[in-house]
């Protein structure tokens, strides 16, 4: 009993510190009002205190507790120290569902905002956990798919908003998680929901803590595993959905609080589940009161959720070394697939369909009246001059993303690996954001900053993972943690409602719009050179997936070959991102399609992934340019919209 008491002391002291800190700052916030004279008739200051400031602080406490409990439950049931509503994509799923409903079916929101959020987060959780189950709930695979889904949902939500309402940025604020309140309605309703879920959680604490003994022992002790998991995951998902529906996405609290609890000495699952919510409440309370205090002096509206994400995502980076890493063999590559066509037939089919595709993309379009037309006559040359660079740049970018994705998937043995996940795209986005907001927004300036951002992230990733000899999964997770951080920063910038945020959103949505003949030529040349280098490294790619031991045995320098391949993938991603934006997901899809086509060796797969990636991007660009003409839908968005369902289908089919 003594040890247990000692284990409780740390978290208790820490929670007390957090709460005291929060109280101190909140006191600074409310003190001027309380000490001021009470006006006899119209006393708005006290009204603000009672109906805005205090509910906001209460909301911070409750939302913090709910998210931390959700994170602790996820971490315990998935036995994964990185799991939380943000890293599993649950909050982002709820957010996307709410955005879609408020844009297209606003009537539904009045009826059941919580139901919509629940549905969104349940779908997200089902996808992520479903994918994770197939990898034996590996911590990396789970968090990787979760963060990919998070980014995808966040990107899609932002783009949908931007496309449908140009001047209203409300959903940006909301997505970034603002805690501002004008009544007690939200904190009170959140309180009873948290209470209900917390009650259910107390019922499963005992069986849940037995999970630590391992599956077979806990089954022997009478735990019904499947039912327990469903109940706990449902609780965690519901908590995240309620918070998201009430105040938007508050990033990373569910990750940070249990981690802090563990660092303070909470070791047993019961302690973790009890102390995490307390610490989470204190954490968000302190964070929000500091933010209110600072914002009060700045006179700006800072969304709390995005700010917690800015501080929370580096913690994810810091936590990485604690995870045990075990290299897995690429199961997908080992799978053979019989195919009715020979390689030669496949090549002919690929080339012919590619030529037809390019011809359509070049010659078919919409005329000023809106009718479909094949180019001819007076404007033939001029229009081709406009279209050709887009088509070829789209092809080159898609091909590069395809090959980069293939390299990453081969290196990590993870089918959710992709260039978007590396964070290089995020770095480029961040560069553009700085160029837009801090310096004059000229095109060449944006371009230079995007390159600088991409290179900086690449350098950070490579340096930070040098110690682990570039263990692939660590590199990927470091990359995606950076993406999440950049996403949060962009969220803060966008929520200011500044018209420049629209420029940033457009760039993020991945449009080939800014491509001209020079950039297209540069893109094609870079693509050709980098893909040729990748082809030269095909032997590494055939052998490295077999694992570190066989690779060393045949004389491949592990660290150097990994560094070079990551560097190559990074360069390709940076070059492609500059034209098609950070969210295309072509790098995720093309390698899958190449494998589905029956290609097995690295060289064949690489050529296949390049052609398929390029082809996908050309199709996406064509659809985006013509479907809503004269309004353009960004190619990156189109490819993500078209590709994600295909990908989900492929992943679910394969066992």
């Amino acid at each position: 009993m003594n040890a247990v008491q000692r284990d409780n002391l740390g978290p208790a002291v820490f929670s007390l510190l957090l709460l005291c800190g929060g109280c101190l700052v909140s006191w600074l916030l409310v003190e001027p009002t309380l000490s001021g004279a009470v006006a006899p008739s119209y006393d708005i200051k006290h009204m603000v205190l009672y109906h805005s400031t205090l509910p906001r602080l209460a909301t911070a406490l409750i939302a913090g507790a709910a998210l931390a409990l959700s994170g602790a439950l996820f971490q315990q049931v998935l036995r994964n120290p990185l799991a939380d509503p943000t890293t599993l994509g649950v909050s982002a799923g709820a957010n996307l569902a709410l955005v879609v409903v408020s844009l297209f079916l606003p009537g539904l929101l009045g009826v059941g905002r919580d139901m919509v959020a629940l549905l969104g987060s349940a779908v997200a959780a089902a996808i992520v956990i479903g994918l994770g189950a197939r990898r034996g709930f590996s911590p990396f695979a789970l968090v990787l798919s979760g963060l990919v889904l998070s980014l995808w949902c966040g990107g899609l939500a932002a783009i949908l908003t931007y496309l449908s309402q140009r001047y209203l940025a409300s959903l940006f604020i909301w997505g970034a998680g603002s805690l501002a309140q004008q009544s007690w309605v939200i904190p009170l309703s959140l309180l009873w929901k948290l209470g209900a879920v917390a009650f259910i959680s107390t019922l499963v604490i005992r069986p849940l803590s037995l999970l630590d003994l391992g599956e077979s022992s806990s089954v022997a002790l009478g735990v019904r595993l499947a039912r327990l998991r469903i109940v706990v995951v449902a609780c965690a998902v519901a908590l995240a959905a309620f918070v998201t529906s009430a105040v938007g996405v508050i990033g990373f609290i569910g990750l940070v609080a249990p981690t802090l609890a563990r660092l303070c000495g909470a070791r047993r699952p019961v302690q973790l589940i009890i102390w995490s919510p307390v610490i989470g409440a204190g954490l968000l309370f302190l964070a929000d009161s500091v933010l209110q205090y600072v914002a009060g002096t700045l006179g700006d509206l800072l969304p709390t959720g995005a700010v917690t994400a800015i501080f929370g995502s580096p913690l994810l980076l810091a936590l990485l070394p604690q995870l045990k890493i075990r290299h897995r063999i690429d199961q997908a590559a080992a799978r053979q697939r019989s195919h009715p066509w020979s390689a030669k037939t496949l090549v002919i089919i690929a080339v012919v369909s590619f030529l037809i595709l390019v011809a359509i993309a070049l010659f078919v379009g919409r005329s000023p009246g809106g009718t479909w037309a094949v180019v001819s006559g007076e404007f033939f040359g001029d229009i081709l001059e406009i279209r050709a660079p887009k088509v070829f740049a789209a092809f080159a970018s898609g091909a590069m993303l395809g090959v980069a994705g293939l390299i990453l998937q081969k290196l990590t043995g993870n089918e959710m690996a992709s260039p978007e996940v590396l964070g290089i795209s995020a770095g480029a986005t961040f560069g553009v954001a700085i160029a837009l907001f801090a310096i004059a927004p000229g095109f060449s300036g944006q371009f230079a900053f995007a390159v600088a951002g991409a290179v900086a992230v690449l350098a950070v990733i490579l340096l930070s993972s040098r110690r682990s000899t570039f263990a692939p999964e660590r590199v990927l997770l470091a990359g995606i943690a950076l993406s999440a951080m950049v996403d949060a920063v962009v969220g803060v910038l966008s929520s200011t409602g500044d018209p420049r945020a629209v420029l940033l959103m457009r760039w993020m949505s991945g449009s080939t719009y800014l491509v001209n003949s020079t950039t297209a030529q540069v893109e094609v040349v870079i693509g050709a050179v980098l893909i040729a280098i990748a082809l030269a490294a095909r032997r590494w790619l055939d052998i490295l997936p077999l694992g570190p031991a066989p690779s060393t045995a045949v004389g491949i320098p592990l660290a150097r070959s990994r560094l070079m391949l990551f560097g190559l993938a990074g360069l390709m991603t940076a070059a492609a991102t500059l034209t098609v934006g950070p969210l295309s997901f072509v790098g995720l899809m093309a390698p899958h399609f190449a494998r589905e086509a029956g290609l097995t060796r690295a060289r064949q797969q690489m050529i296949g992934a390049a052609l398929i990636g390029g082809g996908l991007m050309v199709i996406a660009d064509f659809v985006g340019r013509t479907i809503a003409a004269p309004y353009q839908i960004p190619a990156g968005l189109v490819s993500a919209l078209l590709g994600a369902p295909c990908l989900m289908y492929l992943l679910s089919k394969r066992r």
Partner: protein, 294 residues
């Protein structure tokens, strides 16, 4: 003589209505394309309807008046002009703003580009900038006479509004666009709406200077910093459907002076990123509202 807002703004489009050329309208030998709403509506007032404008599809949602002639062609979003369509319109002149500078290298080979600065970090109040930009535009297009007439008419309109409201005791007005039930965008100096209010002799209840577009994003509770207990709140359409019902539930809102009957009004949409015509529309809408109430 007093002119109504409708008469004022609809006379702007008269030139185009008189010559109903279906597609590729051409007046005065100049085929003009505008990549900015404010500049496009100013063109109408100068008697030079454009052949194409950007974001035509949303014109009725944000600008509303003056109505665009049916002959005008939509060339897509201002940020992503459809160059294929733009090229086929064979424009002589393209009007643009500093926000679209990245398009300049691609616009310049197509036609003469006129770049007008209205919203700039050190540009000062928007209405005077808009008037200056109108004169500059007119000088470039050889329509100085029409511009002076137009500006004189708009001055007369503002004076008319001022006269209509003179003698009434009108409290300070706070101008907002609701973004959701918890947040709003509030308009203040140096923005167009703020200038228009001052021009017709009204005062803005939100006294803090905002960004150079003239707005600031706030939480609803920040409205309590408006100290004048008589202040009125004017919200511009579109108001999201769940905002007003949710506000009514809020105790804080109930305590704000704006929740009293007659202190919150909703007026039809008006464009804050506009020029003189948009200021006229806004002033007209506000004057109509205040006149009705009193």
């Amino acid at each position: 003589m007093q002119i109504s807002r409708r008469v004022f703004l609809h006379s702007a489009a008269a030139a185009a209505v008189l010559s109903p050329t279906p597609l590729f309208a051409e007046i005065g030998g100049q085929r003009i394309v505008s990549l900015d709403y404010g500049l496009a509506s100013t063109l109408l007032s100068l008697g030079l309807p454009p052949v194409g404008i950007s974001d035509l599809a949303d014109w009725g949602r944000w600008v509303v008046e003056p109505p665009m002639p049916g002959s005008v062609v939509d060339i897509g979003s201002a940020y992503e002009v459809d160059f294929e369509v733009l090229l086929q319109l064979k424009p002589d002149i393209i009007l643009t703003t500093p926000y679209l500078d990245e398009l300049l290298p691609r616009l310049e080979p197509i036609a003469k580009v006129l770049r007008l600065e209205i919203f700039t970090p050190d540009g000062g109040p928007i209405l005077p900038s808009s008037i200056a930009a109108t004169r500059k535009l007119a000088a470039e297009l050889g329509r100085e006479r029409e511009a002076e007439l137009f500006l004189r008419r708009s001055d007369a309109f503002f004076d008319g509004c001022r006269a209509r409201l003179a003698g009434r005791s009108i409290p300070p007005l706070a101008l907002v666009s609701f973004m959701d039930a918890r947040h709003a965008r509030i308009y203040s100096a140096p923005g167009l709406f703020h200038n228009a209010l001052e021009r017709i002799g009204l005062s803005n209840a939100w006294t803090r200077q905002s960004n150079y577009w003239g707005f600031e994003t706030i939480g609803i509770e920040d409205l309590s910093t408006i100290t004048d207990p008589d202040a009125r709140l004017i919200a511009l359409e579109p108001v999201p459907s769940d905002v007003l019902p949710k506000l009514v539930e809020s105790r804080l809102w109930q305590a704000l002076p704006f929740s009293r009957p007659g202190h919150l009004s909703v007026i039809p949409p008006a464009l804050m990123f506009g020029m003189v015509n948009e200021a006229v529309r806004f002033a007209g809408l506000v004057t109509d509202l205040l006149e009705q109430d009193a």
